[in-house]
């Protein structure tokens, strides 16, 4: 039996009329952990956001399929209910909405993709018990569930909330965008444990990072290096180690054209900022 597979073929993505991704190919199967590394501005987050269906990221060419189904034809909520999850680098604050209420809606919809608007949510008692258990595991105070979604959270709290959400939603494919940044060593270990707990064999993981904290606990089978909107090299976990130790100089020299594009994209970003 073939494992559930997320297939990305020749993906081109623009923001406004600015091309960011210029032909990305990637296949992630269940149980596999992929690391996506690369310098700033190379397009790593763009890949994640395009997979999740952010309306600001326009796919101009190529395809994304989940077990053969056209992901690009799905709205972001359909993608979530189809089992795709992304832990955001900067998750949005939703003032006035309690974490627990938000998670109860999300969990209900993802577990019951056919749910119609207005139908019952997961029973409160059952949900609370599960949430409490997962929060305890992540060493989160119970009070956290009553706080407003990402509102006034520290960087570390936001990342933990994203991991908690992942733990509740139990996705089949998870994209973690810089989830390790802003976390101390303990938190990284907990996050890694949570990933392990959900079951790596039940998930396909795409870890976007330019550190390697999460990777220490979740050694990738595949490491990809993105530069100038393309994957320029793919290797095993030894590639991640090399990049961690030596940085991107070798990569930049080996791919001057992509490096030039990357510099260009970075300078445009700087102008906009």
């Amino acid at each position: 039996m073939t494992k559930p597979t997320l297939t990305i073929t020749n993906l081109h993505v623009s923001v406004g009329d600015k091309p960011i991704l210029r032909g990305v190919d990637l296949v992630i199967r269940h149980g596999e952990t992929h690391a996506m590394m690369g310098p700033n501005g190379s397009g790593k987050s763009t890949l994640g956001l395009a997979i999740m269906g952010h309306p600001g990221y326009e796919v101009t060419e190529g395809s994304i399929t989940l077990d053969g189904e056209d992901v690009l034809a799905m709205s972001p909520d359909q993608r979530a209910r189809g089992g795709i999850f992304m832990a955001f680098q900067r998750p949005m604050a939703i003032p006035g909405v309690k974490m627990a209420d938000f998670l109860r809606h999300a969990t209900t919809n993802v577990r019951n993709p056919e749910r119609k608007e207005g139908e019952e949510l997961i029973p409160m008692r059952e949900f609370r018990k599960e949430l409490k258990g997962k929060m305890e595991h992540l060493r989160m105070d119970v009070e956290f569930a009553r706080r407003y979604v990402n509102d006034g959270f520290s960087g570390g709290e936001m990342k933990r909330a994203e991991i908690l959400t992942m733990a509740m939603l139990q996705p089949t494919f998870a994209i973690l965008d810089e989830t390790d940044s802003g976390l101390d060593a303990d938190a990284v270990r907990l996050a890694s444990e949570s990933i392990a707990e959900i079951g790596r064999e039940k998930m396909g993981l795409l870890i976007i990072t330019h550190h390697d904290k999460l990777l220490e606990h979740n050694p990738p089978e595949f490491t990809h290096v993105m530069l100038g909107g393309r994957i320029v090299e793919t290797g095993g976990s030894e590639l991640a180690d090399e990049l961690h130790t030596n940085g991107y100089d070798r990569i930049r020299k080996a791919h001057p054209e992509a490096d030039a594009l990357n510099q260009e994209m970075l300078s445009e970003e700087a102008v906009e900022a």
């Binding site: 003032p95 006035g96 999300a106 608007e117 979604v149």
Partner: protein, 468 residues
């Protein structure tokens, strides 16, 4: 006194009944407003002369005063409105007359049949009088007076005369004058010194106010050190075939007393809702308005607190939701008339489907009101490209040593917020309802539990677009 009704065939039929008896008789005034109508209303209510004089004087003021030149566009033919309807006439309506959208809302809110009929004006009374009766007795023992204002004029003339029209005189504005001339129904409450009523008073209103008039008149007097929470209306929609609702609400909060007045209104979409609400708070007293406005064609409502003595406190929490074809011109007024007074306004508005919301607020610190503090927070949420929000904050400071803050923000439902919730599996509708509910959370958490639940449901219905 004599009313000349000989040349008025439309109301000639009242001769068939003994219209001086309050409980029987069908009476419908003729359309339009004039001295005859005003005299008739007063006569039917068997009012003392001072009230008739007050009405007549108010009528003159109404006729002289121009329409407000600000706010929303008012297109009312004052001569095409019935100014007085006996409750028996309301009962003549049937459930079938209630518009389907209102019925649907009742259904979705899960409001019991009896209550639906009451709220829609089909039925004028609640069933469970016994319970209310005993509660009422308990209040009466403590010296609390809670009745409709018509009854109060007859049974508590001294109290009424002392305060009626003193906080909001007929000269205040054209619609206050109109109400003063033709008012009917509304609540009268007097809380004696030191009496603290722990539960919100509202159920009584349903019993007592046989005629929740289009021109109701409410007067609340909270004596020294007493406290009350009054909840007006309900989160459920009110429907009316009439086009104009113009109430006057006066609240007196004496030294050390505390009053909270909560309103959540959801009118049918053809109603002009033009209401004047004002409170005087004396030494160390606290007045709080919690005011929610949904529905109506145009709402112009600015609850006010005048802080008359040192230590007085005024807080206003206001929310408006405007959908297609609606204009909510809502806001608040705080007047610091004494030193060491504190005021706060939190105003939230939501506009959707071409709806228009305006915040119109006044903060005034009078000469001598030094060491006053005031803070205004005013947030608008716009759900699409065709809706509109405006802010008109007026700030008049006539004293040096004061602290005044004003924050205003306007935001669209952010694409990023929406995407975040969608990426967690929420539908677009669930997501925007969640963002809106979060936006009004500061108001909802001030409501008693059952109202908070209904408020949330109502917002959800507004978001679905199935109502109005």
């Amino acid at each position: 006194m004599a009313i000349d009704i000989a040349d008025n065939s439309e109301i000639g039929e009242i001769n068939k009944y003994n219209f001086r008896t309050e409980t029987t008789g069908v009476f419908k005034a003729q359309k339009g407003i004039n001295e005859t109508i005003v005299r008739q209303i007063s006569e039917i209510k068997n009012e003392p002369k001072w009230m008739l004089d007050f009405r007549l004087k108010s009528l003159k003021t109404f006729e002289e005063r121009p329409m407000p030149k600000w706010g929303g566009a008012i297109d009312i033919d004052f001569q095409d409105i019935f100014y007085y309807l006996k409750p028996t006439d309301h009962q003549g309506k049937t459930w079938d007359d209630v518009p389907q959208e209102i019925k649907d809302t009742f259904e979705k809110l899960g409001i019991p049949e009896a209550e639906r009929k009451f709220l829609s004006g089909v039925k004028a009374q609640f069933e469970s009088e016994v319970i209310y009766g005993s509660l009422e007795e308990d209040l009466a023992k403590q010296g609390v007076i809670f009745t409709d204002t018509d009854t109060a004029v007859r049974e508590h003339p001294d109290l009424v005369r002392e305060y009626f029209g003193k906080i909001i005189p007929p000269e205040d504005n054209k619609f206050a004058a109109l109400n003063s001339a033709v008012w009917s129904g509304g609540s009268f409450i007097y809380v004696p010194p030191g009496v603290k009523i722990e539960f919100p008073l509202q159920a009584y209103f349903r019993i007592n106010a046989e005629n929740m008039g289009q021109f109701e008149r409410t007067l609340i007097i909270v004596d020294e050190g007493a406290s009350i929470h009054y909840v007006e209306g309900c989160t459920a929609p009110m429907y009316s075939s009439e086009s104009l609702h113009s109430a006057v609400v006066e609240v007196i909060v004496k030294r050390g007393a505390r009053a909270r007045y909560t309103t959540i209104q959801n009118w049918a979409n053809n109603i002009y809702n033009l209401v004047t609400k004002r409170a005087y708070a004396y030494g160390d007293a606290t007045m709080e308005w919690v005011d929610g406005n949904l529905g109506s064609k145009l709402t112009m409502k600015y609850p006010a607190v005048h802080m008359m003595e040192p230590g007085a406190r005024g807080e206003i929490l206001s929310i408006a939701f405007s959908g297609a074809g609606q204009h909510q011109d809502a806001g608040a007024k705080l007047v610091h008339a004494a030193p060491h007074t504190t005021g706060q306004i939190i105003s939230k508005s939501i506009s959707k489907n071409g709806g228009r919301s305006s915040y119109r607020g006044l903060v005034r610190v009078e000469k001598g009101a030094h060491h006053s503090k005031n803070n205004v927070v005013c947030d608008a949420l716009i759900l699409d490209d065709i809706s509109r929000s405006d802010t008109y904050p007026y700030i008049e400071i006539l004293e040096q040593d004061v602290s005044i803050g004003h924050e205003a923000s306007v935001s669209r439902i952010g694409e990023e917020q929406l995407f975040y919730l969608l990426s967690r599996g929420l539908t677009e509708q669930e997501a925007s309802a969640m963002i809106v509910n979060g936006f009004i959370e500061p108001l909802v958490k001030e409501l008693p539990m059952e109202y908070a639940v209904e408020m949330n449901k109502l917002i959800q219905l507004q978001m679905e677009g199935s109502v109005g």
